[in-house]
Symmetry: D2
Subunit: 238 residues, 4 copies
């Protein structure tokens, strides 16, 4: 029997096809870079993109997905409400969700948070340093106390999200801003991890620490078998 | 200058017009019972109901509302998405929200929570005892350590909500069930309080402790002037 | 290689030697009943008691303990401060701690919480029903939505602890009281779980659901390898 | 009737008497600088220092103190355990506590947290920028989204504390480190705020934003009258 997590890496896959600078960094798309790494880590990985039917997220695909990784940026509005609704339901019943970078403005993340998910940003290729604030968290496994990304888009506070259940990372940027860059949430039975890097214009998803965090997060977010509970009318009474 | 909170009490106002048993308990609607009490407490109160244009929640009304109280049950689906969207935006910018009883399934509460808000229920008029678990919380001001409601609908765990920022009350019921019956959340700048009682078939909103909790919650949820922050692109850099 | 958790079950072991009613229920002590079960579950288990040198908690023992289970009641004051200090330090560096029932007043639990850990109690053999409020938590694995203990001491709110990081169980009692009976905390790298049952006068630690929860909690609390961090003076600067 | 908060500002008052550089910045001690400001804000303020009998914290003083402000650094060990115990008890019954800078290692703070309260530090006069992450929190009232301190000691993560109930501020430093610099906790009925600045070698407590935060925190931490609860044996049963 194979207990490897079954991961679906979703990407809107737009910049990589239209911006030569991005194509060069991610010739087969951001999803492929991430999927290749997770596959090497022994996970069972498939990818899905915006332009596929149902954005590649049919019931059949969702039902065999333990953890969904989400990258989106300029095409959030093109994601159909119906698909978003199905993903949300699947999360409530246990599927994990890893939301990357500009996915903070995705429909699915905003629906799960209930807030604007607004933040501050500046894209001039600043150095980012990501600090571990919860060193015993499994998502920080194998890391040093901090790691640097040489050039990235800046995201700064305030980040309008509900208070995370657990805060794993805080970033500082060259310009002096800070950001809660690794945040854990739970919605229903599903675990959600928001991870701040990386903008499509930088080779962030080729950096070992970033990939390691994504793999750690997948392992943390796999559904577990807890208690059997019933919702709805209860006729029984002691 | 008047610093009294400006409250709008919203009620779908259906049962009271169609079910004689309910009419007898709340001849002018649940909203009137609550509004009368809050007015006596010195608050500036107006009411709004489903059948008014824009459900009585125009921009003009929302802009002068510090705290919105919400009761709904059988007509959640009739509340227009556009109005829900405006209420949510107003909460993000600071308006408080008190959600009562079956309002756990209202569109606005589900949007703010991001979960199913599902629970267990049984409506046979059981005794409920509400216990204070955070005795120094302002919403518990003036209460004894617990109080009883003689007959109520039972709501039982699991209650599928995000972990509350603060848990103020837990209920036990005659049948042995328990429920997190007083839950604080924050979404954007807005404070939200979910309070479990009361079903329309019982005179719950005539009970002094229940009314006291609602008034306390309104006072807790009024917007405060915090820090001035900016979202969006930041051109400045140190 | 054996990855089984190494557990030390600590018991003050007083009632069982002096009260015939308790001796009959736990002829070899509460610690033995728990240790036997955990051993059957494949864990590497040892026991330790108050009257052993250093209460059985020497550096050698602590250094090979992944998770410490703690039961104490009438002899909290006899536990030496120095041993408590060593246990606390070991928890900060990752050892898990499962605190049972009247252990809420143990020195180690009070030191970790920073509060009085006070509560309400009544010991007349009431029925307790324990409800799962976080059904996807690993500590609830394998349970139904609630389970009953036929007779137990009652513990009631208010329970003066810091807000738990995660609330897994809430109990209701025959007398109508409620209690946060399964609470997760983290202190340093160490995970802590407080579990409410069981008083020495009842056969609670022979009940399958209770033992299952303890085993689940041990598995949840084992130290994990997270990030390497440094405290103290940092000479390096970017 | 006067509803002004009654504040006691406690300072170990050592550096100011022995280090000419510090004397110049705070000729009458850090406590005086803070007390003067809070008095100007309309509060009823007294001070207390290490060398007074009972460190100036007699029962009489504590019983009329709504909020205690604490600054200590090199003399933590000289604070008597008995006094610390009394302060802790008073906090449990509602007194607020504002812990400043190196007070993270004070006996009272460590007792309330239950952790090592360890952190990373470097004292070379780096620029600190303090960011508001919870803009609607009363402790952030009147602030811009961030403010700078021109030169300060650096405190960096990891900061070994329990997860704060609310995180109000995060700092970044010239060297790239980050720190959770404004943290709210509750222990018993008492509210606790840890605020990171300022080292005795810099004029931090003369800076308007820093003083404003301390005053805001005092107002936030004043005891409120909540519910009346009983601990201990309960003979009553429904």
């Amino acid at each position: 029997m194979n207990n490897a997590p079954r991961v679906t890496v979703w990407n809107e896959y737009q910049h990589e096809k239209t911006d030569p600078h991005v194509t060069k960094i991610y010739p087969n798309g951001i999803h492929s870079a991430i999927a290749q790494y997770l596959t090497r880590m022994g996970m069972i990985v498939q990818t899905a993109t915006l332009e596929e039917p149902e954005h590649g997220l049919s019931d059949a695909v969702l039902s065999v997905t333990d953890v969904l990784v989400w990258w989106g940026h300029i095409a959030h509005e093109q994601v159909q409400e119906e698909v978003v609704g199905k993903v949300q339901q699947r999360i409530w019943s246990g599927m994990g969700l890893i939301v990357l970078h500009s996915g903070h403005f995705s429909k699915i993340f905003k629906r799960l948070m209930g807030t604007s998910c607004n933040l501050k940003w500046r894209n001039i290729g600043e150095q980012e340093r990501i600090w571990v604030v919860d060193p015993s968290h499994p998502i920080a496994a194998g890391l040093e106390e901090s790691f640097e990304i040489a050039a990235e888009e800046m995201y700064g506070e305030p980040f309008e999200i509900p208070t995370p259940d657990t805060l794993v990372f805080i970033s500082s940027f060259q310009g002096g801003e800070v950001f809660r860059s690794g945040c854990c949430f739970q919605r229903g039975r599903g675990k959600i991890f928001y991870f701040r890097p990386g903008d499509q214009a930088y080779p962030t998803y080729h950096q070992p620490e970033v990939l390691r965090v994504i793999a750690n997060a997948v392992n943390w977010a796999i559904p577990i078998t807890g208690a059997k509970v019933q919702f709805g009318e209860s006729t029984e009474s002691d």
